[in-house]
Protein backbone atom coordinates (compact mmCIF):
# COMPACT_ATOMS: atom_id res chain seq x y z
CA UNK A 1 0.00 0.00 0.00
CA UNK A 2 0.96 3.61 -0.08
CA UNK A 3 3.59 4.46 2.46
CA UNK A 4 4.23 7.91 3.69
CA UNK A 5 7.47 8.95 5.18
CA UNK A 6 7.79 11.23 8.14
CA UNK A 7 9.32 14.56 7.34
CA UNK A 8 11.13 16.92 9.60
CA UNK A 9 10.55 20.60 9.17
CA UNK A 10 12.30 23.34 11.05
CA UNK A 11 9.97 26.20 11.81
CA UNK A 12 12.35 28.93 12.83
CA UNK A 13 14.70 30.25 14.13
CA UNK A 14 13.94 32.78 11.41
CA UNK A 15 10.27 32.50 10.77
CA UNK A 16 7.62 35.17 10.76
CA UNK A 17 5.42 33.62 13.38
CA UNK A 18 7.68 32.21 16.04
CA UNK A 19 7.39 35.48 17.99
CA UNK A 20 11.13 35.92 18.11
CA UNK A 21 14.11 33.71 17.62
CA UNK A 22 12.75 30.33 18.41
CA UNK A 23 12.80 27.03 16.60
CA UNK A 24 10.22 24.30 16.38
CA UNK A 25 11.44 21.00 15.06
CA UNK A 26 8.29 19.49 13.67
CA UNK A 27 8.03 15.90 12.57
CA UNK A 28 5.07 15.50 10.28
CA UNK A 29 3.33 12.57 8.74
CA UNK A 30 1.64 14.16 5.77
CA UNK A 31 0.20 17.24 7.36
CA UNK A 32 -0.28 15.67 10.77
CA UNK A 33 2.17 16.41 13.51
CA UNK A 34 3.76 13.38 15.06
CA UNK A 35 6.27 15.10 17.21
CA UNK A 36 7.26 18.63 17.96
CA UNK A 37 10.33 19.75 19.76
CA UNK A 38 10.76 23.35 20.79
CA UNK A 39 14.31 24.62 20.75
CA UNK A 40 15.08 27.84 22.47
CA UNK A 41 17.87 29.74 24.09
CA UNK A 42 18.73 31.93 21.15
CA UNK A 43 17.94 35.03 23.16
CA UNK A 44 19.68 34.04 26.35
CA UNK A 45 21.05 37.12 28.08
CA UNK A 46 22.33 35.86 31.40
CA UNK A 47 19.56 37.50 33.34
CA UNK A 48 19.99 35.40 36.44
CA UNK A 49 23.74 35.54 36.42
CA UNK A 50 23.67 39.30 35.96
CA UNK A 51 21.54 39.58 39.06
CA UNK A 52 24.16 37.88 41.16
CA UNK A 53 26.70 40.55 40.30
CA UNK A 54 24.38 43.55 40.55
CA UNK A 55 22.71 45.26 43.41
CA UNK A 56 19.00 44.77 43.89
CA UNK A 57 18.01 48.07 42.40
CA UNK A 58 20.21 47.49 39.40
CA UNK A 59 18.09 44.48 38.59
CA UNK A 60 14.95 46.52 38.29
CA UNK A 61 15.64 47.77 34.74
CA UNK A 62 16.72 44.29 33.71
CA UNK A 63 13.38 42.83 34.69
CA UNK A 64 11.81 45.20 32.18
CA UNK A 65 13.56 43.17 29.53
CA UNK A 66 12.19 39.84 30.62
CA UNK A 67 8.75 40.12 29.16
CA UNK A 68 9.07 43.37 27.34
CA UNK A 69 5.35 43.62 26.83
CA UNK A 70 4.65 43.79 30.54
CA UNK A 71 7.54 45.58 32.15
CA UNK A 72 5.31 46.96 34.91
CA UNK A 73 4.20 43.50 35.95
CA UNK A 74 7.79 42.25 36.00
CA UNK A 75 8.85 45.21 38.13
CA UNK A 76 6.01 44.33 40.44
CA UNK A 77 7.32 40.81 40.85
CA UNK A 78 10.83 41.85 41.78
CA UNK A 79 9.56 44.57 44.08
CA UNK A 80 7.26 42.16 45.89
CA UNK A 81 9.99 39.59 46.32
CA UNK A 82 12.60 42.02 47.62
CA UNK A 83 10.14 43.76 49.90
CA UNK A 84 9.19 40.42 51.38
CA UNK A 85 12.82 39.59 51.88
CA UNK A 86 13.79 42.90 53.41
CA UNK A 87 10.53 43.46 55.21
CA UNK A 88 9.72 46.78 53.59
CA UNK A 89 6.26 48.24 53.99
CA UNK A 90 4.56 49.79 51.01
CA UNK A 91 2.24 52.76 51.48
CA UNK A 92 -1.35 52.32 50.43
CA UNK A 93 -1.23 54.88 47.67
CA UNK A 94 1.82 53.27 46.15
CA UNK A 95 0.08 49.93 46.28
CA UNK A 96 -2.95 51.25 44.45
CA UNK A 97 -0.82 52.84 41.78
CA UNK A 98 1.06 49.57 41.42
CA UNK A 99 -2.16 47.65 40.95
CA UNK A 100 -3.38 50.25 38.48
CA UNK A 101 -0.26 49.84 36.40
CA UNK A 102 -0.32 46.06 36.62
CA UNK A 103 -3.91 45.88 35.45
CA UNK A 104 -3.34 48.33 32.61
CA UNK A 105 -0.46 46.09 31.64
CA UNK A 106 -2.81 43.14 31.59
CA UNK A 107 -5.19 44.95 29.29
CA UNK A 108 -2.46 45.95 26.89
CA UNK A 109 -0.91 42.53 26.88
CA UNK A 110 -4.16 40.72 26.21
CA UNK A 111 -5.20 43.22 23.56
CA UNK A 112 -1.98 42.44 21.75
CA UNK A 113 -1.95 38.72 22.54
CA UNK A 114 -5.41 38.13 21.13
CA UNK A 115 -4.53 40.15 18.06
CA UNK A 116 -1.25 38.35 17.49
CA UNK A 117 -3.01 35.03 17.75
CA UNK A 118 -5.51 36.08 15.10
CA UNK A 119 -2.58 37.28 13.02
CA UNK A 120 -1.00 33.87 13.28
CA UNK A 121 -4.31 32.53 12.13
CA UNK A 122 -3.89 34.61 9.00
CA UNK A 123 -5.78 37.82 9.55
CA UNK A 124 -4.21 40.73 7.79
CA UNK A 125 -3.37 42.91 10.78
CA UNK A 126 -6.82 44.38 11.39
CA UNK A 127 -7.38 43.00 14.90
CA UNK A 128 -3.74 43.80 15.56
CA UNK A 129 -4.17 47.39 14.45
CA UNK A 130 -7.17 47.77 16.75
CA UNK A 131 -5.33 46.15 19.62
CA UNK A 132 -2.24 48.26 19.04
CA UNK A 133 -4.35 51.39 18.97
CA UNK A 134 -5.55 50.77 22.53
CA UNK A 135 -2.12 49.59 23.57
CA UNK A 136 -0.60 52.83 22.37
CA UNK A 137 -2.98 54.80 24.56
CA UNK A 138 -1.97 52.79 27.61
CA UNK A 139 1.68 53.14 26.69
CA UNK A 140 1.19 56.90 26.52
CA UNK A 141 0.04 56.73 30.12
CA UNK A 142 3.03 54.66 31.09
CA UNK A 143 5.33 57.08 29.39
CA UNK A 144 3.76 59.93 31.25
CA UNK A 145 4.18 58.22 34.60
CA UNK A 146 7.49 56.49 34.21
CA UNK A 147 9.23 58.14 31.30
CA UNK A 148 9.35 55.12 29.03
CA UNK A 149 6.74 53.34 27.02
CA UNK A 150 7.94 49.79 27.33
CA UNK A 151 10.93 49.63 29.63
CA UNK A 152 9.22 51.42 32.44
CA UNK A 153 11.53 50.77 35.41
CA UNK A 154 8.81 52.32 37.50
CA UNK A 155 8.81 50.33 40.70
CA UNK A 156 11.15 50.78 43.60
CA UNK A 157 11.43 48.77 46.76
CA UNK A 158 8.84 50.27 49.02
CA UNK A 159 6.85 52.05 46.39
CA UNK A 160 7.24 53.61 43.00
CA UNK A 161 9.64 56.11 41.50
CA UNK A 162 7.37 59.07 41.38
CA UNK A 163 3.75 59.84 41.99
CA UNK A 164 1.41 60.08 39.03
CA UNK A 165 1.77 63.38 37.18
CA UNK A 166 -1.22 65.71 37.45
CA UNK A 167 -2.40 65.19 33.85
CA UNK A 168 -2.40 61.41 34.22
CA UNK A 169 -5.87 60.94 35.67
CA UNK A 170 -7.81 62.87 33.01
CA UNK A 171 -6.21 60.83 30.28
CA UNK A 172 -6.86 57.60 32.16
CA UNK A 173 -10.50 58.56 32.57
CA UNK A 174 -10.70 59.21 28.84
CA UNK A 175 -9.17 55.84 28.16
CA UNK A 176 -11.69 54.18 30.43
CA UNK A 177 -14.44 55.53 28.23
CA UNK A 178 -12.89 53.95 25.16
CA UNK A 179 -12.01 50.52 26.49
CA UNK A 180 -15.52 49.00 26.74
CA UNK A 181 -16.13 49.94 23.11
CA UNK A 182 -12.87 48.28 22.21
CA UNK A 183 -13.77 45.07 24.05
CA UNK A 184 -17.20 44.92 22.46
CA UNK A 185 -15.82 45.64 19.05
CA UNK A 186 -13.16 42.98 19.31
CA UNK A 187 -15.76 40.46 20.34
CA UNK A 188 -18.07 41.47 17.54
CA UNK A 189 -15.26 41.31 15.04
CA UNK A 190 -13.96 37.94 16.08
CA UNK A 191 -16.00 36.05 18.59
CA UNK A 192 -18.56 34.52 16.25
CA UNK A 193 -16.42 34.53 13.15
CA UNK A 194 -16.93 31.14 11.55
CA UNK A 195 -13.38 30.91 10.32
CA UNK A 196 -12.01 31.64 13.75
CA UNK A 197 -14.34 29.05 15.22
CA UNK A 198 -13.20 26.48 12.69
CA UNK A 199 -9.59 27.19 13.40
CA UNK A 200 -9.82 27.36 17.17
CA UNK A 201 -12.57 25.13 18.47
CA UNK A 202 -11.22 21.81 19.64
CA UNK A 203 -7.69 22.68 18.50
CA UNK A 204 -4.77 22.54 20.89
CA UNK A 205 -6.77 21.25 23.82
CA UNK A 206 -4.78 21.18 27.03
CA UNK A 207 -6.71 19.07 29.56
CA UNK A 208 -6.49 20.49 32.99
CA UNK A 209 -4.71 17.52 34.54
CA UNK A 210 -1.99 17.80 31.95
CA UNK A 211 -1.90 21.55 32.35
CA UNK A 212 -1.45 21.19 36.08
CA UNK A 213 1.24 18.57 35.72
CA UNK A 214 3.16 20.83 33.39
CA UNK A 215 2.66 23.57 35.99
CA UNK A 216 1.24 25.87 33.36
CA UNK A 217 -0.13 29.12 34.75
CA UNK A 218 -1.99 32.17 33.65
CA UNK A 219 -4.71 32.37 31.03
CA UNK A 220 -3.56 29.11 29.49
CA UNK A 221 -4.21 27.26 32.74
CA UNK A 222 -7.44 29.09 33.43
CA UNK A 223 -8.69 28.33 29.94
CA UNK A 224 -8.19 24.67 30.78
CA UNK A 225 -10.65 25.07 33.62
CA UNK A 226 -8.46 25.53 36.66
CA UNK A 227 -9.50 28.58 38.65
CA UNK A 228 -6.00 29.45 39.73
CA UNK A 229 -4.92 33.03 39.90
CA UNK A 230 -2.13 34.27 42.14
CA UNK A 231 -4.13 37.39 42.82
CA UNK A 232 -6.73 35.15 44.48
CA UNK A 233 -4.60 32.28 45.68
CA UNK A 234 -2.10 34.45 47.48
CA UNK A 235 -3.34 38.00 47.33
CA UNK A 236 -0.47 40.43 47.23
CA UNK A 237 -0.49 44.20 47.32
CA UNK A 238 -4.09 45.37 47.68
CA UNK A 239 -5.77 42.73 45.55
CA UNK A 240 -7.68 41.48 48.58
CA UNK A 241 -9.42 44.85 48.77
CA UNK A 242 -10.65 44.75 45.20
CA UNK A 243 -13.60 42.95 43.66
CA UNK A 244 -12.92 40.89 40.59
CA UNK A 245 -13.76 37.50 39.20
CA UNK A 246 -11.61 34.88 37.59
CA UNK A 247 -12.81 33.78 34.16
CA UNK A 248 -12.05 30.19 33.34
CA UNK A 249 -12.60 28.07 30.27
CA UNK A 250 -14.40 24.81 29.93
CA UNK A 251 -12.63 22.99 27.13
CA UNK A 252 -9.09 24.25 27.17
CA UNK A 253 -8.78 24.85 23.46
CA UNK A 254 -7.58 27.89 21.60
CA UNK A 255 -11.04 29.40 21.57
CA UNK A 256 -11.23 29.21 25.35
CA UNK A 257 -7.90 30.94 25.66
CA UNK A 258 -9.15 33.66 23.37
CA UNK A 259 -12.34 34.11 25.37
CA UNK A 260 -10.57 33.98 28.71
CA UNK A 261 -8.22 36.73 27.62
CA UNK A 262 -11.08 38.95 26.55
CA UNK A 263 -12.88 38.33 29.82
CA UNK A 264 -9.72 39.04 31.77
CA UNK A 265 -9.48 42.38 30.05
CA UNK A 266 -12.97 43.14 31.26
CA UNK A 267 -12.07 42.09 34.80
CA UNK A 268 -8.95 44.21 34.71
CA UNK A 269 -11.11 47.05 33.57
CA UNK A 270 -13.25 46.50 36.66
CA UNK A 271 -10.20 46.63 38.88
CA UNK A 272 -8.93 49.80 37.26
CA UNK A 273 -12.33 51.37 37.81
CA UNK A 274 -12.18 50.55 41.50
CA UNK A 275 -8.65 51.83 41.76
CA UNK A 276 -9.61 55.12 40.15
CA UNK A 277 -12.44 55.47 42.63
CA UNK A 278 -10.27 54.84 45.65
CA UNK A 279 -7.05 56.49 44.62
CA UNK A 280 -7.91 60.01 45.90
CA UNK A 281 -8.68 58.64 49.37
CA UNK A 282 -5.56 56.57 49.75
CA UNK A 283 -3.05 57.29 52.49
CA UNK A 284 0.69 57.47 52.30
CA UNK A 285 2.97 58.74 49.62
CA UNK A 286 4.24 57.10 46.53
CA UNK A 287 7.06 55.41 48.39
CA UNK A 288 7.90 54.30 51.87
CA UNK A 289 9.82 57.25 53.39
CA UNK A 290 12.44 54.88 54.72
CA UNK A 291 13.29 53.88 51.19
CA UNK A 292 12.56 57.18 49.52
CA UNK A 293 16.08 58.05 48.43
CA UNK A 294 17.79 56.15 45.72
CA UNK A 295 20.79 55.85 47.99
CA UNK A 296 18.72 53.70 50.31
CA UNK A 297 17.57 51.60 47.41
CA UNK A 298 21.13 51.18 46.29
CA UNK A 299 22.44 50.27 49.69
CA UNK A 300 19.65 47.81 50.37
CA UNK A 301 21.04 44.79 52.15
CA UNK A 302 18.28 42.33 52.97
CA UNK A 303 18.85 40.01 55.88
CA UNK A 304 20.19 36.54 55.22
CA UNK A 305 17.45 34.29 54.00
CA UNK A 306 15.52 33.32 50.91
CA UNK A 307 12.21 34.33 49.52
CA UNK A 308 9.87 33.45 46.72
CA UNK A 309 7.80 36.39 45.60
CA UNK A 310 5.22 35.88 42.93
CA UNK A 311 2.76 37.94 41.00
CA UNK A 312 0.18 37.21 38.37
CA UNK A 313 1.52 38.78 35.21
CA UNK A 314 -0.65 38.67 32.10
CA UNK A 315 1.27 35.60 31.00
CA UNK A 316 0.98 33.70 34.25
CA UNK A 317 2.72 33.35 37.53
CA UNK A 318 5.98 35.25 37.57
CA UNK A 319 8.08 34.25 40.52
CA UNK A 320 11.38 35.55 41.79
CA UNK A 321 13.33 33.26 44.07
CA UNK A 322 16.04 35.21 45.80
CA UNK A 323 18.63 33.99 48.27
CA UNK A 324 20.31 36.72 50.23
CA UNK A 325 23.58 36.35 52.05
CA UNK A 326 23.16 39.68 53.72
CA UNK A 327 25.20 41.55 51.14
CA UNK A 328 24.00 44.14 48.66
CA UNK A 329 23.79 41.55 45.93
CA UNK A 330 21.59 38.49 45.79
CA UNK A 331 23.44 35.28 46.39
CA UNK A 332 21.13 33.40 44.09
CA UNK A 333 18.40 34.73 41.93
CA UNK A 334 15.99 32.63 39.94
CA UNK A 335 13.11 33.67 37.74
CA UNK A 336 10.12 31.46 37.29
CA UNK A 337 9.18 32.72 33.87
CA UNK A 338 5.58 31.99 32.92
CA UNK A 339 6.23 32.11 29.18
CA UNK A 340 8.91 29.48 29.52
CA UNK A 341 6.81 27.11 31.55
CA UNK A 342 3.69 27.66 29.49
CA UNK A 343 5.68 26.82 26.41
CA UNK A 344 6.75 23.39 27.60
CA UNK A 345 3.50 21.55 26.80
CA UNK A 346 3.45 22.79 23.20
CA UNK A 347 4.72 19.47 21.90
CA UNK A 348 1.86 17.60 23.50
CA UNK A 349 -0.66 20.23 22.51
CA UNK A 350 0.29 20.12 18.85
CA UNK A 351 0.44 16.37 18.50
CA UNK A 352 -2.18 15.03 16.13
CA UNK A 353 -3.02 18.43 14.73
CA UNK A 354 -2.06 19.95 11.42
CA UNK A 355 1.01 21.99 10.62
CA UNK A 356 -1.04 25.14 10.26
CA UNK A 357 -2.31 24.71 13.81
CA UNK A 358 1.16 24.88 15.30
CA UNK A 359 1.54 28.59 14.84
CA UNK A 360 -1.93 29.24 16.16
CA UNK A 361 -1.35 27.10 19.23
CA UNK A 362 1.93 28.90 19.77
CA UNK A 363 0.13 32.20 19.40
CA UNK A 364 -2.54 31.15 21.85
CA UNK A 365 0.05 30.38 24.51
CA UNK A 366 1.26 33.96 24.19
CA UNK A 367 4.97 33.81 24.77
CA UNK A 368 7.62 36.47 24.76
CA UNK A 369 11.00 35.08 23.89
CA UNK A 370 12.72 37.57 26.13
CA UNK A 371 11.15 35.81 29.04
CA UNK A 372 11.51 32.30 27.72
CA UNK A 373 15.23 32.56 27.20
CA UNK A 374 16.01 35.21 29.80
Amino acid sequence: MLKTQELQINIGPQHPSTHGVFRLVVTVDGETIVDLKPVFGYLHRNHEQLAEVSTYIQMMPFTDRLDYFNSMANNFGLAIAVEKLAGIEVPQRANYIRVLMAELTRILNHAAAVAFMINDMGAWQTPLAFGMREREKILDLFEMASGARMMCNYFRFGGIVRDLPPDFMPLLNDLMKALPTFFDETERLLRENEILLLRSEGVGILPKEVAASYSVTGPVLRASGVPYDVRKAEPYSVYNELDFDVPIGSVGDIYDRFLVRIEEMRQSYRIVQQVIERLPDTTGGHINPAMASIGKQKALKPPVGDVYGRVETPKGELGFYIVSDGSARPYRYKVRAPSFINLTPIGDMCRGHKVADVVVILGSIDIVLGEVDR
Binding site: D29, G41, P207, E209, V210, I346, G347, D348, G352
Partner: protein, 204 residues
Protein backbone atom coordinates in the same frame (compact mmCIF):
# COMPACT_ATOMS: atom_id res chain seq x y z
CA UNK B 1 -3.24 29.41 -46.97
CA UNK B 2 -1.12 32.45 -46.59
CA UNK B 3 2.49 32.81 -45.64
CA UNK B 4 1.98 33.84 -42.05
CA UNK B 5 0.02 30.73 -41.19
CA UNK B 6 2.59 28.63 -42.99
CA UNK B 7 5.40 30.16 -41.01
CA UNK B 8 3.56 29.73 -37.75
CA UNK B 9 2.79 26.14 -38.60
CA UNK B 10 6.40 25.31 -39.34
CA UNK B 11 7.58 26.96 -36.14
CA UNK B 12 4.98 25.16 -34.08
CA UNK B 13 5.63 21.81 -35.67
CA UNK B 14 9.34 22.16 -35.12
CA UNK B 15 8.78 23.16 -31.54
CA UNK B 16 6.42 20.26 -30.90
CA UNK B 17 8.91 17.80 -32.30
CA UNK B 18 11.82 19.35 -30.45
CA UNK B 19 9.91 19.31 -27.18
CA UNK B 20 9.02 15.67 -27.80
CA UNK B 21 12.65 14.80 -28.35
CA UNK B 22 13.61 16.66 -25.21
CA UNK B 23 11.06 14.66 -23.22
CA UNK B 24 12.83 11.43 -24.01
CA UNK B 25 16.38 12.65 -23.87
CA UNK B 26 16.58 15.08 -21.00
CA UNK B 27 18.08 13.63 -17.84
CA UNK B 28 16.03 15.27 -15.15
CA UNK B 29 12.60 13.70 -15.03
CA UNK B 30 10.90 16.90 -13.89
CA UNK B 31 12.39 18.66 -16.86
CA UNK B 32 11.02 15.89 -19.04
CA UNK B 33 7.56 16.50 -17.61
CA UNK B 34 7.90 20.21 -18.24
CA UNK B 35 8.95 19.60 -21.85
CA UNK B 36 5.92 17.35 -22.21
CA UNK B 37 3.74 20.23 -21.11
CA UNK B 38 5.41 22.43 -23.68
CA UNK B 39 4.65 19.95 -26.44
CA UNK B 40 1.03 19.66 -25.29
CA UNK B 41 0.80 23.38 -25.42
CA UNK B 42 2.15 23.69 -28.91
CA UNK B 43 -0.24 21.01 -30.08
CA UNK B 44 -3.03 23.16 -28.67
CA UNK B 45 -1.66 26.09 -30.61
CA UNK B 46 -1.71 23.93 -33.71
CA UNK B 47 -5.41 23.23 -33.19
CA UNK B 48 -5.98 26.93 -32.85
CA UNK B 49 -4.21 27.43 -36.15
CA UNK B 50 -6.77 25.09 -37.69
CA UNK B 51 -9.52 27.26 -36.22
CA UNK B 52 -10.64 24.43 -33.98
CA UNK B 53 -10.97 26.72 -31.00
CA UNK B 54 -12.96 24.33 -28.89
CA UNK B 55 -10.57 21.44 -29.28
CA UNK B 56 -7.60 23.68 -28.69
CA UNK B 57 -9.06 24.95 -25.47
CA UNK B 58 -10.04 21.50 -24.33
CA UNK B 59 -6.51 20.35 -25.09
CA UNK B 60 -5.18 23.08 -22.83
CA UNK B 61 -7.77 22.41 -20.16
CA UNK B 62 -7.31 18.67 -20.08
CA UNK B 63 -3.66 18.13 -20.95
CA UNK B 64 -1.93 21.24 -19.70
CA UNK B 65 -4.27 22.06 -16.85
CA UNK B 66 -5.00 18.61 -15.54
CA UNK B 67 -2.91 15.76 -16.91
CA UNK B 68 0.40 17.54 -16.64
CA UNK B 69 -0.34 18.64 -13.09
CA UNK B 70 -1.13 15.04 -12.31
CA UNK B 71 2.15 13.94 -13.86
CA UNK B 72 4.08 16.56 -11.90
CA UNK B 73 2.37 15.58 -8.69
CA UNK B 74 3.05 11.92 -9.31
CA UNK B 75 6.73 12.58 -9.93
CA UNK B 76 7.16 14.90 -6.99
CA UNK B 77 5.39 12.63 -4.56
CA UNK B 78 7.48 9.66 -5.59
CA UNK B 79 10.80 9.71 -3.88
CA UNK B 80 14.18 9.13 -5.42
CA UNK B 81 13.23 9.96 -8.97
CA UNK B 82 13.52 13.68 -8.79
CA UNK B 83 17.27 13.53 -8.59
CA UNK B 84 19.28 14.56 -11.59
CA UNK B 85 21.23 12.23 -13.75
CA UNK B 86 18.67 9.51 -14.25
CA UNK B 87 19.78 7.70 -17.36
CA UNK B 88 17.20 7.82 -20.10
CA UNK B 89 19.10 5.81 -22.68
CA UNK B 90 20.11 2.29 -21.85
CA UNK B 91 22.37 -0.05 -23.76
CA UNK B 92 19.75 -1.68 -25.89
CA UNK B 93 17.92 1.49 -26.73
CA UNK B 94 17.78 0.47 -30.37
CA UNK B 95 15.43 -2.40 -29.55
CA UNK B 96 13.10 0.07 -27.95
CA UNK B 97 13.42 2.24 -31.01
CA UNK B 98 12.43 -0.61 -33.30
CA UNK B 99 9.47 -1.52 -31.13
CA UNK B 100 8.34 2.06 -30.96
CA UNK B 101 8.68 2.53 -34.71
CA UNK B 102 6.74 -0.65 -35.35
CA UNK B 103 3.91 0.38 -33.10
CA UNK B 104 3.84 3.81 -34.64
CA UNK B 105 3.72 2.23 -38.09
CA UNK B 106 0.84 -0.01 -37.11
CA UNK B 107 -1.07 3.00 -36.00
CA UNK B 108 -0.23 5.36 -38.80
CA UNK B 109 -0.21 3.18 -41.88
CA UNK B 110 -3.93 2.32 -41.99
CA UNK B 111 -4.77 5.95 -41.36
CA UNK B 112 -2.55 7.18 -44.13
CA UNK B 113 -3.63 4.67 -46.72
CA UNK B 114 -7.30 4.19 -45.97
CA UNK B 115 -8.48 7.66 -45.12
CA UNK B 116 -10.00 9.67 -47.88
CA UNK B 117 -8.44 13.06 -47.51
CA UNK B 118 -10.98 15.70 -48.31
CA UNK B 119 -9.24 18.46 -50.16
CA UNK B 120 -10.79 21.70 -49.12
CA UNK B 121 -11.96 23.81 -51.98
CA UNK B 122 -10.32 27.18 -51.73
CA UNK B 123 -12.38 29.87 -50.10
CA UNK B 124 -14.91 27.50 -48.58
CA UNK B 125 -15.41 28.05 -44.89
CA UNK B 126 -15.86 24.86 -43.00
CA UNK B 127 -15.87 24.72 -39.27
CA UNK B 128 -13.96 21.90 -37.74
CA UNK B 129 -15.67 20.41 -34.75
CA UNK B 130 -17.70 23.25 -33.32
CA UNK B 131 -19.14 22.92 -29.86
CA UNK B 132 -22.61 22.12 -31.13
CA UNK B 133 -21.39 19.45 -33.50
CA UNK B 134 -19.34 17.76 -30.81
CA UNK B 135 -22.24 17.88 -28.37
CA UNK B 136 -24.64 16.42 -30.87
CA UNK B 137 -22.21 13.72 -31.83
CA UNK B 138 -21.69 12.74 -28.22
CA UNK B 139 -25.40 12.51 -27.60
CA UNK B 140 -26.34 10.75 -30.83
CA UNK B 141 -23.76 8.67 -32.75
CA UNK B 142 -21.23 8.16 -29.98
CA UNK B 143 -23.58 7.86 -27.03
CA UNK B 144 -22.39 4.39 -26.06
CA UNK B 145 -18.64 5.13 -26.09
CA UNK B 146 -19.36 8.36 -24.28
CA UNK B 147 -21.30 6.61 -21.55
CA UNK B 148 -18.74 3.82 -21.29
CA UNK B 149 -16.00 6.38 -20.91
CA UNK B 150 -17.88 8.19 -18.18
CA UNK B 151 -18.54 4.94 -16.34
CA UNK B 152 -14.86 4.14 -16.59
CA UNK B 153 -13.97 7.51 -15.12
CA UNK B 154 -16.48 7.00 -12.35
CA UNK B 155 -14.95 3.62 -11.54
CA UNK B 156 -11.51 5.21 -11.43
CA UNK B 157 -12.80 7.91 -9.11
CA UNK B 158 -14.37 5.40 -6.73
CA UNK B 159 -11.25 3.26 -6.90
CA UNK B 160 -9.14 6.24 -5.88
CA UNK B 161 -11.40 6.90 -2.94
CA UNK B 162 -11.23 3.25 -1.88
CA UNK B 163 -7.46 3.28 -2.03
CA UNK B 164 -7.34 6.49 -0.08
CA UNK B 165 -9.60 5.05 2.61
CA UNK B 166 -7.57 1.88 2.85
CA UNK B 167 -4.41 3.90 3.13
CA UNK B 168 -5.96 6.02 5.83
CA UNK B 169 -7.00 2.97 7.82
CA UNK B 170 -3.49 1.58 7.78
CA UNK B 171 -1.86 4.86 8.64
CA UNK B 172 -0.74 5.29 12.18
CA UNK B 173 -3.22 7.60 13.74
CA UNK B 174 -1.69 10.29 15.88
CA UNK B 175 -3.85 10.97 18.89
CA UNK B 176 -4.22 14.50 20.07
CA UNK B 177 -3.60 15.25 23.68
CA UNK B 178 -7.30 15.53 24.47
CA UNK B 179 -8.04 12.16 22.88
CA UNK B 180 -5.23 10.48 24.71
CA UNK B 181 -6.36 11.87 28.04
CA UNK B 182 -9.90 10.79 27.28
CA UNK B 183 -8.76 7.25 26.53
CA UNK B 184 -6.77 7.07 29.71
CA UNK B 185 -9.69 8.36 31.68
CA UNK B 186 -11.87 5.63 30.30
CA UNK B 187 -9.29 3.01 31.12
CA UNK B 188 -8.78 4.54 34.56
CA UNK B 189 -5.10 4.85 33.87
CA UNK B 190 -2.80 7.36 35.37
CA UNK B 191 -3.02 10.66 33.64
CA UNK B 192 0.66 11.23 33.91
CA UNK B 193 1.88 11.41 30.37
CA UNK B 194 5.19 10.08 29.35
CA UNK B 195 7.13 13.06 28.16
CA UNK B 196 7.14 12.85 24.41
CA UNK B 197 9.04 15.99 23.76
CA UNK B 198 12.10 17.30 25.40
CA UNK B 199 12.55 20.98 25.37
CA UNK B 200 16.21 21.50 24.92
CA UNK B 201 18.11 24.68 25.26
CA UNK B 202 20.89 25.37 22.86
CA UNK B 203 24.25 25.51 24.43
CA UNK B 204 25.64 28.94 24.86
Amino acid sequence: MNILIMVIFVVLAAFTLAAGVMVVTVKNIIHAALWLIASFFSVAAMYLLMEAEFIAIVQVLVYVGAISILVLFAIMLTRHVTGEGVRQLYKRWWIALIVAAALFGVLIVPTVFNYEWAVQPSGAQISIASTVEIGTAFMREYLLPFEVASVLLLVALIGAIVIAFEERSTRRRVLTLAEEVEQRRQRNESLRLAPTTHASETSE
